[in-house]
């Protein structure tokens, strides 16, 4: 089994790489140049905080601690990994930690350009503790967690736990925190699509750790059966993840072509992510047909969904709802239709003669996650709103949150006599003072 173990070292590092820098780039490129650094910081800080929190009490609440009413584990049982064997540090603790980190980081896209760093630093640990750890316990503590026990829904790598979860939280925060100054009036176009393209590519790369690394052994004794399962099941999840993503990219581009006449690179990047989101819960449940259909459906539906926010007038800035909630639901629910007993999951969905059972389970699981996170995130959001406060001043937002919150600007592309752009860079023309002892 050291082969499987070697894979899990890589898989864990890959998922960590998804938050920093991949997601930070994907989001950063879509924000304005005056707020790209703040956008990236939200991802980096999420990982920084969750990395510590998960080791202290996250693992205990999600898996190791004694179950409390099928809702979560006792945070103190395995506090700071007490009595947790080194063998499960990587495939267990660290692998799961990276999921928690990226889930909360995903939320940041909904509230771009307007949130105080301090508010975010407060939100991250509270939210993962109240929303993420419990849901991952409820869904993934097989036979123990609430969802697993009552609905036995399939969620291979986190359709409910990660994407619906983050999507709902993003929806709530976008509503509670409100729109950016000038939303719907001023242009808020992506400032650097090359960053978004890099981010999408690296997310795709890292997602193999995410999905293919999420295999659970049937035997778990490290024997022949486990190895055989490793060498066959991962083939299915890898292939499904790949073709669903390809189908979603093409689906999004086709939809754009129909709706707006042109297929865009932002559409390709977005389609990739939408497909990866939708195949996340379903990569172990469906066959090739199912994977292609789920991917294509996610691409088409998300491409349509991202336009809705302007209608309802909600500033879900980088479409966490349109991509992660919608994509997560597509993947979670379509399992009910396309799940097949010939796939590792071993359950037949409606179209494979399995009746409505699976569909019902999937819907129930999704509904429960939406309910739990919807309610609790609302409480957290208002609590912060009426205490610390979420938003930077309106002037700071107009001038740019990078300058206000971090005292930085992302670019200084003036290049003196060296050619290239000779745009007036304010800082180049600036007076530089090294404040003696500023650090003393």
């Amino acid at each position: 089994m050291d082969g499987y173990y070697a894979w899990m070292i890589v898989a864990t590092a890959l998922v960590l790489m998804m938050t920093t820098p991949a997601l930070a780039l994907f989001y950063g490129g879509m924000s304005r140049s005056k707020s790209v650094l703040n956008m990236m910081m939200m991802s980096y800080v999420s990982l920084g905080i969750v990395g510590i929190v998960y080791v202290l009490w996250g693992w205990s609440m999600a898996f190791a601690g004694d179950d409390v009413g099928s809702l979560f584990g006792n945070p103190f049982d395995a506090w700071a990994l007490k009595d947790v064997p080194w063998e499960s540090y990587i495939g267990g603790v660290m692998f799961q930690m990276t999921f928690a980190a990226i889930t909360v980081a995903l939320i940041s896209g909904a509230i771009a350009d307007r949130v105080k760093l301090s508010a975010w630093v407060l939100f991250v640990p509270v939210w993962v503790t109240v929303c993420y750890f419990p849901i991952s316990h409820q869904v993934w503590s097989t036979g123990v967690g609430f969802v697993s026990k009552h609905f036995g829904a399939q969620d291979y790598a986190g359709g409910t736990v990660v994407h619906i979860n983050a999507g709902v939280a993003g929806l709530v925060l976008a509503l509670v925190i409100g729109k950016r100054v000038g939303f719907g009036k001023e242009p808020m176009r992506p400032h650097n699509l090359t960053l978004t393209m890099i981010g999408a590519g690296l997310l795709w790369f890292g997602w193999y750790g995410f999905n293919v690394g999420s295999m659970v052994f049937l035997e778990g004794d490290g024997g022949e059966k486990d190895i055989a399962q490793f060498m066959s099941e991962t083939g299915v999840t890898f292939l499904n993840t790949t073709i669903a993503t390809c189908a979603a990219m093409l689906g999004w581009l086709a939809m754009e072509r129909i709706l707006h006449g042109k297929a865009t690179s932002l559409g390709a990047a977005s389609g990739i992510v939408a497909g990866l989101v939708a195949i996340t819960p379903s990569c172990g449940a469906v066959d090739i047909t199912g994977a292609i259909v789920i991917g294509a459906a996610a691409g088409v539906l998300c491409a349509w969904a991202v336009g809705l926010k302007f209608k309802v007038g909600m500033d879900d800035s980088l479409d966490v709802v349109g991509v992660h909630l919608v994509g997560g639901l597509v993947g979670t629910l379509l399992i009910g239709l396309f799940s097949t007993a010939d796939a590792p999951g071993g359950i037949d969905g409606l179209f494979y003669g399995g009746g409505f059972g699976s569909l019902g389970d999937q819907a129930a699981a999704a509904g429960w996650a939406i309910l739990w996170t919807g309610v609790l995130t609302t409480v957290i959001a208002f609590a912060i709103k009426f205490t610390l406060g979420w938003r930077v001043t309106e002037e700071a937002e107009v001038e740019g949150i990078d300058s206000d919150q971090h005292g930085e600007s992302a670019y200084d592309l003036h290049s003196g006599l060296g050619g290239g752009t000779t745009a007036p860079s304010t800082s180049v023309l600036a007076k530089h003072t090294v404040t003696e002892g500023v650090n003393a």
Partner: protein, 112 residues
């Protein structure tokens, strides 16, 4: 002919353009510039080194107009671009001997 040059705050550009359009200005040339004046810049710190950013971004608008329109155009710009806070900018008018439309070679009023 006159050349009206206006230096205003970037977020006022949109309003000014609309006001001028309404008045009947059919064209203008715009550039982004950096302004130095009473309005102060801000400070940035990178690894303990402080940078004092003295300049503030401004939008510079150039409009060639007929002699009679100059005052109205100036008035419109001042009215629309005014926020009352330091840094609103300046507008100045200078004489122009002649203006030509490249496409047609038309001169002066006909060129606008």
């Amino acid at each position: 002919m006159k050349l009206v040059t206006a230096v205003i705050k970037p977020h006022k550009w949109e309003d000014v353009r609309e006001a001028l359009e309404a008045f009947g200005v059919t064209g203008m040339t715009v550039s982004e510039v950096s302004g130095y004046g009473r309005q102060k810049g801000h400070t940035e710190v990178y690894r303990g080194a402080e940078y004092d950013i003295a300049l503030v971004p401004k939008i510079r608008i150039e409009i060639v107009v007929g002699n009679d329109d100059a005052d109205d155009v100036v008035g419109i710009i001042v009215k629309t671009a005014q926020t009352g806070r330091i840094g609103d900018g300046k507008v100045w008018v200078s004489p122009v001997d002649t203006v030509v439309r490249v496409r047609t070679g038309d001169r002066d009023d006909a060129a606008l």
